[in-house]
């Protein structure tokens, strides 16, 4: 077998490989199901039904997909220029802190003001958290994979400290039980984000913001000077410097943008669903890390991120609602793992051509020795 690097990747392959990877993952998981004595077709039918078909299921899928969409976009924005921000997790926590803080400060204002404030708070806090590794990378050439990853843990500790370790502004101290069992201050009813009922499906406000962000991100990369410079810098840093691109600014700005998107995910968690700063729930969900998977499967294309987020959101949602004695609890996890495994394997096919020799050859050593 020989592996050669492809000079040019055909367009159809970019679509075909992820689709084929997905099918292969389903097939591989079917083998696992058979081994466990389950009927794979019936299992998949139920899964699909609960993800997209059953009454209310599609709306629930959108709820699960919303944070994946935003953190997926956050990762895709940075990865697209080979800036490996894997700190969407921490940036999302900080976005949640910013958004809930803004919602609490503006509690007596009108709903529009509160919600606008929450969005701004989420964007700003997420961006600020991401600018730290951005500056380190731009000015000290620090590896952003390590700094963003470490800052995730710091952000988790910040969350825990705000609710469990201090008498902070975010903590509810109004009742005796709240003082004994720490929890966040609940947000006012006006801070609940609206939903959009399209009769087939109910879209959370955060999902709509995500769609908007996907479109903006796409045109940013395609049609703006900043996006152009980011592409050049991602492709070849010496070429970017040569072209007079202020490379440090671009790095810091892209980190800020990526962090802002993750922060928006945190704001949506507060505004759309939780309505309270909930350190345990946020940290258990691992939404930032899931966003990395979404971005990778979408090959950093913002519109593909939307699709992948809905798909993975559907899987996760069906997994929650089907969990029970007769349904294998780990199934969805196995399937997700398989999808990622095959998708990463598929990358090889996109970048390399694999060919088998036409006929087996004898493997005799060369016979000529003397010169």
């Amino acid at each position: 077998m020989r592996i050669q690097r492809r000079l040019e990747t055909p367009r159809w392959l970019v679509v075909a490989v992820p689709v084929a990877s997905f099918v292969a993952a389903i097939a591989a998981t079917a083998i696992v199901l058979l081994a466990a004595g389950k009927d794979p077709i019936a299992t998949y039918a139920r899964l699909f039904d609960r993800a997209f078909i059953a009454p209310g299921s599609l709306s629930n899928t959108m709820i699960t997909a919303t944070p994946l969409l935003l953190t997926g976009l956050a990762a895709a924005a940075a990865f697209r220029m080979r800036l490996w921000n894997i700190g969407a997790e921490g940036q999302l926590y900080l976005g949640a802190v910013g958004a809930s803080g803004a919602g609490l400060v503006l509690r007596d204002q009108s709903a529009i003001v509160i919600i606008a404030g929450m969005i701004a708070g989420g964007l700003l806090f997420g961006a600020a958290w991401a600018v730290i590794p951005g500056l380190l990378r731009a000015y000290f050439n620090t590896n952003e994979i390590i700094t963003t990853l470490m800052l995730n843990y710091v952000a988790g500790l910040v969350l825990t400290y705000l609710i469990f370790g201090s008498r902070s502004f975010w903590r509810d101290l109004s009742t005796f039980s709240a003082r004994a069992f720490p929890q966040g201050k609940p947000l006012p009813a006006a801070a609940m984000w609206p939903t959009f009922d399209l009769s087939v499906v109910v879209l959370p406000f955060g999902f709509v913001l995500g769609l908007l962000a996907a479109a903006l991100l796409w045109s940013l990369y395609r049609s703006t000077i900043f996006g152009f410079q980011a592409r050049v810098l991602g492709d070849s840093p010496p070429a970017a410097r040569y072209a007079g691109v202020k490379t440090r600014r671009v790095v810091v700005a892209m980190m800020a943008l990526s962090g802002a998107l993750a922060g928006l995910g945190g704001a949506s968690e507060i505004g759309d669903f939780r309505h309270v700063l909930d350190p345990r729930g946020l940290q258990q969900a691992g939404l930032g890390y899931a966003g990395i998977v979404v971005a990778a499967l979408a090959r950093y294309n913002p519109f593909a991120v939307v699709l992948v987020a809905v798909l993975l959101g559907g899987l996760a949602n069906a997994g929650y609602s089907l969990q029970g004695p007769e349904f294998p609890a780990g199934l969805v996890g196995v399937l997700q793992g398989m999808i990622l495994f095959f998708a990463l394997g598929g990358e090889l096919l996109i970048h390399y051509r694999i060919s088998l020799p036409r006929a087996p050859r004898s493997s005799l050593s060369p016979s000529g020795k003397g010169a």
Binding site: L7, E8, R222, S223, T224, I225, F226, F228, Q229, R231, V232, D235, S236, P238, A239, A240, R241, Y242, A243, G244, K246, R353, R361, S363, L364, S365, P366, S367, G368, K369, G370, A371
Partner: protein, 497 residues
């Protein structure tokens, strides 16, 4: 090698090529870039396997599955870019990966003695205990050759061996090759420099577009005939250098410019130099004597530690490429695919790499795709860039066409001065010709050109004045009319002449 055919996706790299070399001869393999020389050499050394055809050594058919098989059969190659481990000693490099080497290191003294003995026999002085990174390019090449000899090479393939050497080092290399052929070894000398082929080879085999054009005895031919075989038509070797009106106005002036290299070592020492409008000033020197830092200090991609760069009486800010671009400094960088263009981006995008901030390519932060495409179509036509279209990723182009993209962009910006670093390195004769005439044309239009080149012939052909750089210092400036090749060579090698 009989009727060797090798097909790559979309290219027939070798089409039924026959090649034969005798004991004790230097056999040159000549052809333009992409003619199939490297493919043929790679097949002979076991890197590629031919789709059809066979290889025989001393009449016995062999089949190489890997470079190791070839080494065992006595075939070794010295690549153009050396394959040495920089942090190891010369002796370590020579035994590295060799079959006879035990897992644990053998006594270094034994190997060093063997290496010294070999080095003496072929008059290739090199210290076996020196670390490779400490060696000059010429010395590193000797290590590569010794490595091959140590492995018992009877057939040695040299890929463009003189491309990084001074004239003196090349002479020494030719002397070594003669000693090796005198012992009956065979040398395959891959090159596209006609003058040195004439000097060193016994026979020449010419390839063009993957096909064998012919094999001739060197004494029976001349450069002109070989060039015709190589490119299939007549070439103009002595390009008519226009006698331009020597403009009294200075386009570029360097005043005591100093700069460091990437490791923080001083690489340029108080370089002062000026280029008039319409003048071509050549900077000659052996690779690694501060040429890259000089070009980068002018184009702003490298900070200066001291001194001024003045373009049309305006001082440029240090380390600010945008300032240099705005004030009319065009730069043709030596690393054309990694620096001169962004390889994955399209031709159209690379053509606006420097002008994307300005009208008409963008307005208010938004790119204007229609203008960008129109610009690309115009420049592709005007500079005869061979490409499927403006959206083709630039890395898919041949080296000559990548360089045309760079030149199209730089020249269309109407520059005051062009800093061109090794603008024709690695290009074939046809592309070299067109790059040089573009530079001459620009000079004719009053652009000042600083031509930094490791190819002395190129500088002698194009430059009005020649500055020699050695260890980051300009060691002399001579007019072309009074230049003497031997003397320039000595200056390039650091001899105080």
């Amino acid at each position: 090698m009989r009727s060797i055919t090798k097909r790559f996706p979309g290219v027939l790299a070798n089409d039924a090529v026959d090649f034969e070399a005798r004991h004790g001869e230097v056999h040159a393999l000549l052809g333009e870039n992409g003619a199939g020389k490297s493919t043929l050499a790679s097949i002979l050394t076991g890197l590629y396997r031919p789709d059809s055809g066979e290889i025989a050594i001393d009449g016995k058919t062999v089949e190489f599955h890997s470079p190791r098989d070839a080494t065992e059969a006595g075939v070794s190659m010295v690549h153009q870019h050396f394959r040495l481990a920089a942090s190891l000693t010369v002796a370590d490099n020579i035994v590295l990966g060799y079959k006879g080497t035990p897992w644990l290191r053998t006594n270094p003294a034994t190997i060093e003695a063997q290496v010294t003995e070999l080095a003496k026999r072929y008059r290739m002085p090199v210290r076996p205990d020196a670390r490779v990174w400490q060696l000059s390019v010429g010395e590193q090449q000797r290590v590569e050759i010794l490595k091959a000899l140590y492995r018992g090479a009877r057939i040695l393939i040299l890929d463009e061996p003189t491309s990084l050497l001074t004239p003196q080092e090349s002479e020494d290399l030719f002397e070594t090759l003669r000693r090796m052929t005198a012992e009956g070894r065979t040398i395959v000398f891959v090159s596209h420099k006609l003058d040195e082929l004439m000097a060193v080879s016994d026979r020449v085999t010419v390839l063009r577009a993957g096909k064998l054009i012919g094999t001739v005895n060197t004494p029976d031919t001349d450069q002109r005939a070989l060039a015709r075989m190589m490119i299939g038509r007549e070439v103009v070797f002595t390009q008519a250098k226009k006698s331009h009106d020597a403009s009294p106005e200075t386009a570029l002036e360097l005043k005591d410019v100093s700069a460091q290299d990437d490791l923080g070592l001083q690489a340029l020492h108080n370089v002062s130099l000026s280029v008039q409008h319409g003048e071509i000033v050549g900077v000659a020197g052996v690779a690694g004597n501060g040429q890259r830092q000089l070009a980068e200090a002018i184009s702003g991609t490298r900070h200066r530690t001291a001194g001024d760069v003045v373009v049309k009486k305006r001082k440029l800010r240090s380390g600010d490429p945008e300032d240099a671009i705005v004030h009319g400094v065009a730069h043709v960088p030596e690393d054309r695919l990694g620096t001169g263009v962004s390889p994955s981006l399209s031709i159209a995008e690379n053509l606006i790499l420097k002008s994307h901030r300005q009208s008409p390519m963008s307005s208010r932060g938004v790119l204007r795709h229609d203008r960008i495409r129109r610009n690309a179509r115009e420049l592709i036509k005007r500079f005869a860039i061979a490409a499927p279209g403006p959206d083709t990723p630039t890395r898919l182009l041949s080296g000559g066409n990548v360089q045309k993209v760079v030149l199209a962009r730089e020249l269309s910006s109407v520059p005051v001065v062009i800093v061109a670093a090794n603008p024709t390195r690695g290009l074939d004769v046809g592309a070299t010709e067109s790059v040089r005439s573009l530079l001459l044309e620009a000079a004719g239009n009053g652009v000042g050109i600083l031509l930094i080149s490791e190819d002395l012939d190129e500088i002698l052909l194009l430059a009005d004045r020649i500055a020699v750089i050695y260890e980051g210092r300009i060691v002399g400036v001579v007019a072309r009319s009074t230049a003497d090749v031997q003397q320039l060579g000595l200056m390039m090698a650091g001899a105080s002449a």
